[in-house]
């Protein structure tokens, strides 16, 4: 088969920025079969593939890409699904540039193979044709409880169900998917895809109980009494952080979690056809430089804002957001105010936001994160007129479950302490995802779910709890 020797990735067709900035439809449109095959032919099929090492769930990347190059799309998705139960999601939201694609040898002389785009292609190819219902394995008669139905929980559930366990997922919200449904916007990850991936997990025999706020309605002790032999805690990101500056409770100030939840989970963009409202003004400032900040800013634009700023205290280089999302946001005319830090939010007499006072920053010596520390420039304060402020500076751990679980060791920041297999300080209890790591990525959470599933399987076979 002739190689495609292009140094660049086959471009991804996208919606025109001028059009897409006002709609919630998906931005990236996906490869056609021809585009996928052509891109797949760029892969050198390395004997020792670095890409697989870079993947938290070890997708057999060269093998599935080979199938695409040979037009065996069904074979490709089959290989992916051996290790990844949520490929249509990963193909869209994984930071491939920091994982598989980072290790691609082609990246040394040009652009790496577009592994994420190919994964998405294979998953979508199957999805649009209707996937085969999975083979349901023989039941082992052992019950496992999973708390939270985000990427970590779904992955752990899928892997355990494939091994024959009776898995129940307890979800606090009314819809399964966790951050995939409340956090990541439609234009980046259509909800229909999440629904289909969740359905696949259910077809494996996993039961999902919604409206279950664990720690409140049931405790972990209750679960053991109910006959569950292992529990995996994947409750996710938790409480939004605020900056602790004056004015954060003015009307029109949202946490990114609230802003995105109202739009994504509660479908506030359809108000008044749906009942949950949201207020998006004409000029919006989003504070923070991560993917959530990008999502919030681009959502604000789609909700009708005239001007959306991202206010970030460091520079472009330190910004944690994926490059692709940054580029997308720029194309959609989001304005980036780098090296700018809010010091207070200003309100009007009715308590509504009317501006933020910011201070300019400059980069000093590297801090604990290894990034150069931003230092305020004295006297550089200025006022930015805005009527909506969205705070996207991260989240802290949610204590609802950990508070009611005895013997569960926490880190000094309140996250659950685990060993390398995801085991907590309590026998029979594992944890993974953002409740362990703090805000991270979908794929890292999936990796943690996978690891925990392996460890749970081992434990339930011999009931040995050694740490």
């Amino acid at each position: 088969m002739p190689l495609n020797r292009s140094k660049k990735k086959t471009p991804m067709p996208t919606q025109n920025p001028e059009v897409r900035r006002r709609n919630f439809s998906e931005v990236a449109l996906g490869y056609s079969e021809e585009e996928a095959v052509s891109e797949a032919k760029r892969c050198l099929q390395c004997k020792k593939p670095g890409c697989v090492e870079g993947c938290p769930v070890q997708v057999q990347i060269p093998q599935f890409i080979k199938r695409i190059a040979e037009r065996d799309f069904e074979g490709a998705i089959k290989i992916i699904k051996e290790t990844n139960s949520l490929p249509a999601i990963c193909g869209r939201v994984c930071p491939q540039e920091a994982q598989c694609e980072k290790n691609c040898v082609l990246g040394k002389v040009g652009e790496p193979v577009a592994i994420g785009r190919l994964e998405r292609f294979a998953a979508d190819w199957e999805r649009t044709r209707g996937s085969h219902p999975p083979v349901i394995p023989k039941k082992l008669g052992k019950k496992v409880a999973i708390i939270g139905s985000g990427p970590a929980g779904l992955t752990c559930a899928g892997d355990l169900a494939k091994l024959g366990y009776d898995v129940t997922i307890f979800e606090a919200l009314h819809k399964p998917g966790g951050v995939l449904v409340y956090g990541i916007p439609e234009f980046r990850l259509p909800k229909i895809i999440v629904e289909q991936e969740v359905k696949f997990i259910q077809q494996l025999g996993v039961e999902i109980k919604t409206n279950m706020v664990m720690g409140k309605v049931l405790t972990i002790d209750d679960l053991f009494e109910m006959g569950y032999e292992a529990v995996f805690i994947s409750t996710g990101a938790g409480l939004p952080k605020f900056m602790g500056i004056p004015g954060e409770n003015y009307l029109g100030v949202y946490s990114a979690n609230e802003f995105l939840t109202r739009i994504n989970l509660m479908k506030a963009y359809s108000f008044p056809n749906t009942d949950t409202p949201i207020k998006v003004g004409k000029k919006v400032a989003v504070i923070g430089g991560g993917n959530v900040a990008m999502d919030a800013a681009r959502s604000a634009l789609r909700m009708g804002a005239d001007e959306v700023h991202i206010v970030y205290r460091r520079s472009e280089e330190e910004m944690p957001a994926r490059k692709e999302e940054f580029e997308n946001a720029k194309e959609e005319s989001i304005i980036f105010d780098f090296l700018t830090n809010p010091v207070r939010i200003i309100g009007n007499e009715n308590g509504w936001v009317k501006g933020i006072e910011c201070i300019r920053m400059e980069l000093g010596e590297p801090d604990a994160s290894g990034r150069r520390r931003p230092v305020p420039i004295t006297g550089s304060e200025f006022i930015m007129d805005v009527d909506t402020v969205i705070i996207a500076i991260g989240t802290g751990p949610n204590p609802l479950l950990t508070k009611t679980t005895e013997g569960l060791e926490l880190t000094k920041h309140g996250y659950i302490a685990v060993d390398e297999e995801g085991r907590t300080s309590r026998e029979g209890v594992w944890a993974g995802g953002d409740i362990v790591t703090g805000s991270a990525t979908v794929i890292l959470a999936m990796g943690a779910g996978k690891k925990a599933a392996r460890s749970i399987h081992e434990y339930l076979q011999n009931k040995k709890w050694q740490q």
Partner: protein
């Protein structure tokens, strides 16, 4: 899906539902609340638990029809189902060594007051209560409060029943007469809780209020329900809803409750048009008593 087992009209536009929710009933404690969503596309609204029965697996909620969602909820009948019913949420209240407590309930606030007084009464604590409403026909749960109180005062704004005036008038009198309480619980519209807390403050009597800010998830995830207590941001859903009334920034709470005023109006108008409602004026009048 959660079944409505019983429906009662307590007052014009105030309704009581007994909901079949065994898991919630089993864990519910006074001071906690639920979040419900009537159907797909609906909003999630918090409602305080007015009573619960672990044995029968039921949870009682009381709500006033003030907005679209509560009006729609009011159209449901016994035998109908609610899509989502989540709880028990929030921190339960505790009164470890109390001997005598004063409970004050205004309007719909009488409903969440009831389980707290009931628990105190069962603990053998002396309970004095003051309940009030705009007018006699809007007064709810009078019998229930009476059975858990050693002494009860009733007030109406228009004098149509009991004392003529606000509940705070009686509160003031009791304190001025030198009556002592280990704690005072005030639940009702924010303005009542604010004024009540201002009255009790000089007497140094611990005063508990129960806040009902706008919420979405009710699990701490969104921070929409944040309130300022003692100068710090608290999330009413996970840190409350009960707080020290002397430390709550009520003015901020009142402002934040009005965030979606325009949208609430639009939503209600559309609903009323679709349901051919002739009671709009009455409902808007009822708004004054509403906690939410």
């Amino acid at each position: 899906m959660f079944k409505i087992l019983e429906k009662r009209e307590l007052a014009p536009s105030i309704k009581l539902f007994v909901i079949e929710a065994p898991l919630v009933a089993k864990k519910a404690k006074p001071g906690q609340f639920v979040i419900l969503r009537i159907k797909e596309g609906g909003e999630r609204i918090p409602l305080t638990i007015a009573d619960y029965d672990a044995q029968n697996g039921t949870v009682t909620i009381v709500f006033q029809e003030v907005g679209k969602t509560t009006r729609e909820l009011g159209t449901l009948e016994a035998g109908d189902y609610i899509e989502d019913f989540v709880g028990p949420l929030g921190v339960p209240v505790e009164f470890p060594n109390h001997k005598k407590v004063l409970g004050i309930g205004g309007g719909l606030g009488i409903a969440p007051l009831y389980p707290k007084l009931k628990m105190l009464h069962q603990q053998g604590v002396e309970v004095v209560s003051i309940i009030g409403a705009r007018t006699a026909e809007m007064l709810i749960l009078e019998e229930e409060i009476k059975t858990v109180s050693n002494r009860m005062y009733v007030c109406t704004d228009d004098g149509s029943k009991g004392r003529h005036g606000f509940v705070t008038v009686v509160l003031k009198e009791l304190l001025e007469q030198g009556e002592k309480f280990d704690e005072i619980i005030i639940i009702g519209p924010p303005i009542l809780m604010k004024i009540g807390s201002e009255i009790t403050k000089p007497y140094g009597i611990p005063t508990m209020v129960s806040l009902n800010p706008i919420m979405v998830d009710g699990t701490g995830m969104c921070g929409g329900c944040r309130v300022t207590v003692d100068g710090e941001i608290k999330f009413a859903c996970v840190d409350g809803p009960a707080f020290d009334g002397h430390k709550v920034d009520f003015d901020e709470l009142i402002k934040r409750l009005a965030t979606y005023k325009e949208e609430e109006k639009i939503s209600l108008e559309i609903f009323n048009k679709a349901h051919g409602c002739k009671l709009i004026n009455k409902i808007e009048g009822a708004d004054k008593d509403a906690v939410k």
